[in-house]
Chain length 314, copies 3
């Protein structure tokens, strides 16, 4: 199973920034392309007051800071040139995390979606939307909100596809700022299926693809959860992608690049489950030859060897 | 607002050591110089049993370890050569942190100050003192102790200037070893002004400059706090510097280099408040092209672009 | 005191993986050799489901994952070529950590030991066994289990030596995943001696060398604890090695390379106590010029200078 997409982690919640300029970003897109990545997904266009493009709306109405560079334009130009698809991640005001109320996200993104489509929709690489608020079993109440956002994206853009990337509430579903790496009350396979069937029913038609994060469950649980995910996705007419996390959730330093063997186990499980596409969170910190984490460059090399290996096996 | 000074983080509380030798330090001073840094401030000359110079007093009387190299001499020679100003940071026995009693710091530093001035005072770059015990609102009782230490430094050195770098007790004022990154009981602007006016009144005449650490409050609070700091400093005749932290307090890894946009926001706020000088904690880990954290080299490049930008705007 | 051995941290509990291939491992063994390391010790051959060699037994009976590469073969070949000694670290099922019951470790390792000796025992560099379960004062009940494992290793291999590397239950003996770096209830020197005399009596004849980890006590406690360790080892006929940890336990990031001065203090204390050999945990992350942690390369250089210094002093 090849990784053909990656998130772009601007703006980050919890991964320290690399301070790259245009030159480094160009080189990184080239590194992505070289291993077959054809899709880049902006993780979010803004978080609280920090934003990725000079949004008149967000600066004026949400007191966001004027960004030093227009990353959306930069990423779209690079994707245009290199013939990649760009998915735009919605704005995250942070208010939902604080209050549990999605109304603010719907209201502010109504403006963001229009503004972004107007300013950047002409780029040939603008090919989809990423609903950036991370839905989970605990936020089933937010299902209709996601539906609203998805439909809004599609309405302005002649039906461009929409993507979500939720997490499985497994034993490793703990906060990055927490001192622990596992918890006791992991979700059961049965509850997962029940709850997500409800959610999928609610977002059907508004969301085209679901890419569950693959890092919250144990490696021997992958097959069972992936099979259920694929079955549900098929049933509700969603594409089933995997978000193959390339950072390691099992270590006290949160987070550094994953051990290749673990990434391979997850990709192989997605292949067995017949998943449609694999993307990763994310290339630039955890798999790039120019990452500040030098382990990432070695992961890139191990992954390239794996590509040779599966090519030989075909 | 240009950064014209940096701390030298030897001995460190909580930032892992880079294990540089004389060659790396020389190169780092040259990197500093290249972006306009003219002031280096030794964060402390010793902490508990680890010390930066072979102090006869500290080794004999405080059971400190004989250091493998005389960093004070090394730093002063480099500062002499490169025409920079060196501030000497006092010894921190650690006993104050444990007991809240400053008497031990006063007693031990009486000897340290004499010894250091006798051994290193001839260097032309020896241009000031840094009172390394980090005072805050919770330690107002220590005001007279700081007064004593400041006057002592000035007395032996023909009135060389003294510097302090306290923290604002904002929402990010949590211990580095703590798992969290924010707290609930942040100080109000009013309490900050009240309490620091008291402290400034107490240290007036013994301390020449105050460089508040800028990383404990939120970015949108910068203007208010900076304005109050400047007003108080002016009122009590202190120079008002900013200690622009170049590491990121918002991330679970404590600590890696800051996102350039955040550093710029803080420097711009200091400029608007009319601050006298900007220093940083600290160049060698978080902004240096040869830092073990490669994000630091990129921050260096972004900062150099910013220097061009503000030069163009002049 | 020269470091002449290092652990190989595959499979890791808590140190993020570097994703090296055969090329990087060869280069690392050469870097080790260049500073006088003649012994490499596999920290464990497997942990839970991850293993270092394609063990028919562990894959079939313990549901372990088939590893992407045979690291045991790779390490033995490199050790053969470079004339180094290889110690094989036993399998750790993780069940002991969960339940406190050693029976599972004994049962599974009975097969592992036979399998490994059969498959790899012909290598001239296969020169010892490392009993990888980390014994401590809290696990005195496990003494007979360790005895059993040690005797089993020796029986199949014509008496090849066995090694353990326990920790002193000092103030820094906290879990890596914990947010703190010290604890209150450190062991006293007297209790340490009493309890370890009991353990040494129990493993006498089955274990040849003990390498206490040197990082859990404070630097000024080294001489006292090391003297007691040496006295006990001599009394019970064990070789007394030191496991000089090359990572820093005093920092919030768990873990990065240690400050050279600290490593030197620990090595000097081992020399004063008349220890037989110094090994480190571990070279490849914390002392190697090609480590992802660039501080490690500088530590390598500082350590090489130290070798020159002690050579000059001889």
């Amino acid at each position: 199973m090849k990784i053909t997409g990656t998130f772009l982690d601007e703006i980050s919640h919890d991964i320290p920034h690399q301070n790259w300029g245009a030159k480094e970003w160009r080189r990184d897109f080239e590194h992505m392309k070289a291993i077959g990545i054809d899709t880049v997904i902006l993780i979010r266009s803004g978080y609280r007051r920090f934003i990725t493009y000079p949004s008149a709306y967000l600066i004026k109405e949400q007191q966001c800071y004027h960004p030093p560079v227009d990353l959306v334009e930069l990423f779209l130009q690079l994707a245009d040139e290199l013939d990649m698809q760009f998915y735009f991640g919605l704005y995250d005001s942070g208010k939902y995390w604080d209050s549990g109320d999605m109304q603010h996200e719907i209201d502010s993104n109504r403006f963001v979606i229009d503004e972004v489509w107007k300013n950047y929709g002409h780029h040939k690489s603008f090919r989809g939307w990423y609903l950036s608020m991370e839905i989970s079993r605990k936020t089933r109440g937010a299902t209709t909100a996601f539906r609203t956002l998805g439909l809004q994206c599609k309405a302005v853009s002649n039906g461009l596809p929409t993507l979500i990337s939720p997490w499985i509430d497994g034993k490793k579903a703990v906060m990055a700022a927490s001192a622990v790496i596992t918890k006791e009350d992991a979700v059961s396979l049965k509850a997962h299926e029940q709850e997500w069937s409800e959610i999928f029913a609610g977002i059907q038609g508004a969301v085209d693809a679901v890419a569950f994060q693959d890092g919250h469950i144990d490696y021997h649980e992958l097959d069972d959860f992936f099979a259920v995910n694929k079955k549900m996705a098929d049933h509700f007419g969603l594409q089933c992608w995997t978000n193959a996390e390339s950072f390691d959730r099992d270590m006290p330093i949160k987070f550094l690049p994953i051990k290749f063997e673990k990434l391979r186990l997850k990709l192989e499980a997605a292949r067995r489950a017949g998943y449609d596409k694999a993307i990763t969170f994310e290339f630039s910190h955890f798999m790039s030859p120019q990452s500040a984490y030098l382990q990432a460059g070695h992961l890139y090399n191990r992954y390239k060897e794996y590509l040779e290996e599966i090519k030989g096996a075909e």
